[in-house]
């Protein structure tokens, strides 16, 4: 349709100038080699200083540049254009469900609040030994697939339950971390952690639709972790009443 051109439709919103957000069309020469979406944004920003987005490590480990790329959440810095472009078009929007500060930058306060809520730190009040606490490789293996989370929010902002109840449903990212500490042989607050998650919203708003698994740029599986938490909750508290109404 555009030959050697690439059309980028970019979500623009500057609260000081715009009453409403809008999509702005940029047409550029198709880059000669396959570049990442983040590189594409750099190219656009060189032409138009006013474009805003977050970025830091540019290699997929810091979690700054989560965004919605042609309809799917992902990290701009590790998403090659070739993997998403459709008919020479790319559409970039902010992560869905969170308030937009400007352009592709969202307000992540609610996301971080859920993370803090699960007490994301090891709790073990026994006197620490002189050296490290021992942990077998098998015990340590249980943390694989959990501790690697980079808090990019791609998962939680692709989750309809989080869109509906960002204040009450903990969301896949923070639940993955909740399980990371439940699964750690060194953590001694299992009861308290489960108790704090046992209300109808924190965990049980997850209906297993797996959007989180589908988008995680690190290949992690929050859905599985949530399943583990649910089964721990069931074992822990047989009389829990699960209601599906809000």
């Amino acid at each position: 349709m555009f030959g050697n051109k690439l059309q980028v439709n970019l979500y623009r919103y500057n609260p000081e100038e715009d009453k409403f957000p809008y999509m702005k069309k940029y047409v550029i020469e198709k880059p000669k080699r396959d570049i990442m979406i983040l590189d594409l944004l750099h190219l656009l920003k060189e032409e138009d200083q006013s474009i805003s987005y977050r970025r830091s490590c540019r290699e997929g480990v810091c979690g700054s540049d989560g965004m919605n790329i042609n309809g799917k959440n992902g990290l701009a810095c590790i998403t090659p254009i070739s993997s998403v472009v459709k008919r020479n078009k790319i559409e970039l929007r902010p992560l869905p469900g969170l308030p937009v500060i400007r352009d592709l930058v969202v307000d992540m306060t609610e996301f971080y609040a859920q993370y803090e809520k699960i007490k994301p730190f090891l709790q073990n009040e026994t006197t620490a030994p002189e050296q490290e606490r021992l942990q077998s490789p098998e015990e340590r293996d249980k943390l694989d697939g959990l501790y690697e989370c980079i808090l990019c929010a791609c998962c939680s902002t692709s989750c309809p339950s989080f869109w509906w109840n960002p204040d009450k449903f903990v969301g896949p990212a923070a639940l993955l971390q909740a399980y990371r500490f439940l699964a750690d042989s060194r953590d001694l607050k299992t009861e308290e952690r489960l108790e704090a998650l046992s209300d109808p919203f924190s965990v049980y708003r997850c209906h297993g639709i797996m959007n989180c698994v589908n988008v995680c740029p690190k290949g992690l599986n929050p859905n599985k972790a949530i399943g583990e938490i649910k089964s721990m909750l069931h074992k822990n508290k047989k009389d829990i009443i699960v209601t599906d109404g809000v």
């Binding site: 987005y53 830091s56 997929g60």
Partner: protein
């Protein structure tokens, strides 16, 4: 954000203010938050986006897990030698002897270290490591969480700061230090990136924990945010920088992309090959081969390329061979590397070698400090402590890395000296220490730069100027240096100075204006680049990472010393190296071979 005056900005007061939310900053803040002092971390990114997150291979420390007989003195010997003998031995002694405590604390905080069968922390071999003062063969001293140690460390520190209730000013950008007429540092001017609000963050102790500035080079493993903000603020305030010519080029940055491939790859048994498939490090470092110091390996690679034995179409890179380790080892020990290679080099290390090239990685220099993190300037060739100013981590030069840092020593530096700085500030402030107030005009001075940028109606485009700066540093101050080329570079920097002082900020809006941030970062990069260039030109020898082909030999008679760059006169002076450790005999300089 036009016309900001001292009278109409908010003042927020803290006991201790930490600029930077990476490993050293958050280790310092953790210590301070636990002490009950009113502490804040001001960070231009949410803390877990800091560059510590990218550290891969591990944290080197003699915790005697892989080898029950390991000894911190052996680690000290390696570090002194790795530094090519201009690391301060009192500081290196502190680093290596306090290290185990600091690492065990991290484990107690929850850091998910990989483990040996006996349940102890997993340690892997890294370059430059030895047993028994170089006589006992290769050591395995680098504690690891797979190849994501920095990520695990940074998140653990953030989590524990959450636990202790540290105040975070996230996505606030510190612009300049505020200092009073007595040259005491009383805090910083900063603005909220989210809404443009400017504030004077006043503190009794200000810690620069802003990390490195690898972005002065066109090709770097560093994050885009590594722009030397703290060091540049100190330079602009007239405070010196030490050993700025010492930049580490990591042997294995992914060709074309710059992303780091951990030295742990070679620690686990990988090796470098040239286009003939030859394991060429056997020629350059017959004893330890691919695990020689990073400066040695990087230079050997460049020589191979210069002599026409580079790989690829243009013979301009080297291959890192890992496939012989097998899928199981690669997936369990180096999963992050496999991921990065597939994404950025389009190769799967299970089957093919990774194309790599030496890439700017680490700033050994920085704001000079003592082992308590207290920054100092130089008056009449004496160290003079700057009241209120501290620094730790890559931003600081304490100096434990001297002319070349050993792999795995940066994470140890962060936690040991972040911790020491926190402890020192705590005792200083609790015993009544502190600084006097700044006047209105002192604060006005620190607002000047921001105001000038906000009022710019024409001038140079920051994106263009940044490219010029990075190309200049890459061309003239890279792995190999030569006087006549560096002179060209210095001339070019002189021309760039005019541009950097007259940037045009087109977008003046307040809400998440990243252009404003990038313009100030560019000015910071320039300060760091200039100090690097001047110091590199001045040191007429080759030592550690500073390799000059017009002065190919180490010159202990004239240059067994630190360089001190004075930002006001732009002159370089010498400062003695510490050879007085407290618990062991000093290690005297000797020929450095691997």
């Amino acid at each position: 954000m036009n016309n900001i005056f001292t009278n109409n900005i908010k003042k927020i007061e803290f006991d201790a203010l930490i600029v930077g939310g990476g490993g050293s900053g958050m280790r310092a803040s953790l210590e301070l938050a636990k002490s009950g002092l009113k502490t804040a971390v001001v960070s231009k990114v949410f803390p877990t986006r800091s560059h510590t997150v990218s550290a891969q291979g591990g944290i080197t420390c003699a915790i005697a897990s892989a080898d029950p007989n390991d000894d911190w003195r052996w680690h000290m010997y390696d570090t002194v030698k790795g530094a090519d003998f201009i690391g301060d031995q009192d500081a290196i002694e502190y680093l290596c002897s306090e290290g185990p405590k600091a690492v065990f604390e991290l484990e107690h905080m929850g850091l998910p270290f990989s483990r040996f069968e006996n349940g102890r922390i997993y340690q892997r071999p890294f370059g430059g490591q030895s047993k028994d003062f170089g006589k006992g063969g290769q050591a395995a001293r680098t504690c690891a969480a797979a190849d994501r140690t920095g990520h695990a460390l940074l998140h653990t520190l953030y989590q524990n700061n959450v636990k202790e209730g540290t105040n975070f000013l996230n996505e606030w950008f510190a612009v300049d230090l505020v200092k009073n007429s007595k040259d005491q540092v009383t805090g910083v001017i900063a603005f909220s990136i989210e809404n443009g609000e400017v504030a004077y963050l006043k503190a009794q102790a200000t810690v620069l924990a802003t990390g490195g500035a690898g972005r002065i080079y066109a090709s770097t493993t560093n994050a885009l945010i590594n722009t030397g903000d703290g060091l540049a603020m100190a330079l602009r305030a007239g405070f010196p920088a030490q050993d700025m010519e010492m930049w580490q080029f990591h042997p294995t940055g992914i060709y074309g992309a710059g992303s780091l491939v951990t030295e742990g790859c070679r620690g686990e048994g990988g090796f470098l090959i040239n286009k003939d498939g030859e394991r060429f490090m056997e020629r350059y470092a017959p004893n330890v081969k691919d695990l020689a110091g990073r400066d040695v390996v990087a230079r050997s690679m460049v020589l191979e390329i210069l002599e026409g034995r580079g790989c690829g179409e243009n013979n301009d890179h080297i291959y890192l061979k890992l496939d012989h380790l097998g899928a199981e080892v690669l997936n369990s020990k180096l999963p992050g590397i496999c991921e990065l290679s597939r994404t950025f080099a389009h190769v799967d290390p299970v089957y093919e070698p990774i194309p790599v090239v030496p890439t700017c990685h680490y700033m050994m220099g920085g704001t000079p400090t003592n082992i308590s993190g207290q920054a100092f300037s130089r008056i009449n060739d004496q160290d003079y402590l700057i009241p209120g100013l501290f620094s730790a981590g890559e931003a600081a030069c304490v100096s434990v890395h001297g002319a070349n840092r050993l792999g795995g020593n940066s994470l140890l530096d962060l936690v040991v000296f972040g911790r020491a700085t926190g402890k020192h500030i705590q005792s200083e402030l609790k015993s009544g220490g502190g600084v006097e107030s700044a006047t209105k005009s002192d604060i006005d001075n620190s607002l000047e730069r921001l105001n000038k940028l906000n009022e710019s109606s024409n001038g140079f485009d920051p994106a263009d100027v940044k490219k010029e700066l990075q190309e200049c540093m890459q061309n003239y101050f890279g792995v190999f240096r030569r006087g006549e080329f560096m002179q060209k570079g210095l001339d070019q920097l002189n021309e760039l100075k005019e541009k950097v002082d007259n940037l045009h900020l087109k977008d003046k809006s307040d809400a998440f204006n990243t252009s404003r941030v990038e313009a100030i970062e560019l000015q910071n990069l320039f300060e760091v680049a200039e100090s690097t260039a001047v110091s590199a030109f001045k040191r007429t020898e080759s030592r550690g990472a500073h390799a000059r082909d017009d002065y190919p030999d180490r010159d202990d008679e004239n240059w067994l010393c630190h360089t001190i760059y004075d930002p006001i006169t732009k002159e370089v002076s010498k400062r003695g190296v510490n050879f007085e450790p407290n618990k062991v005999e000093a290690f005297p300089p000797k020929v450095r071979t691997y």
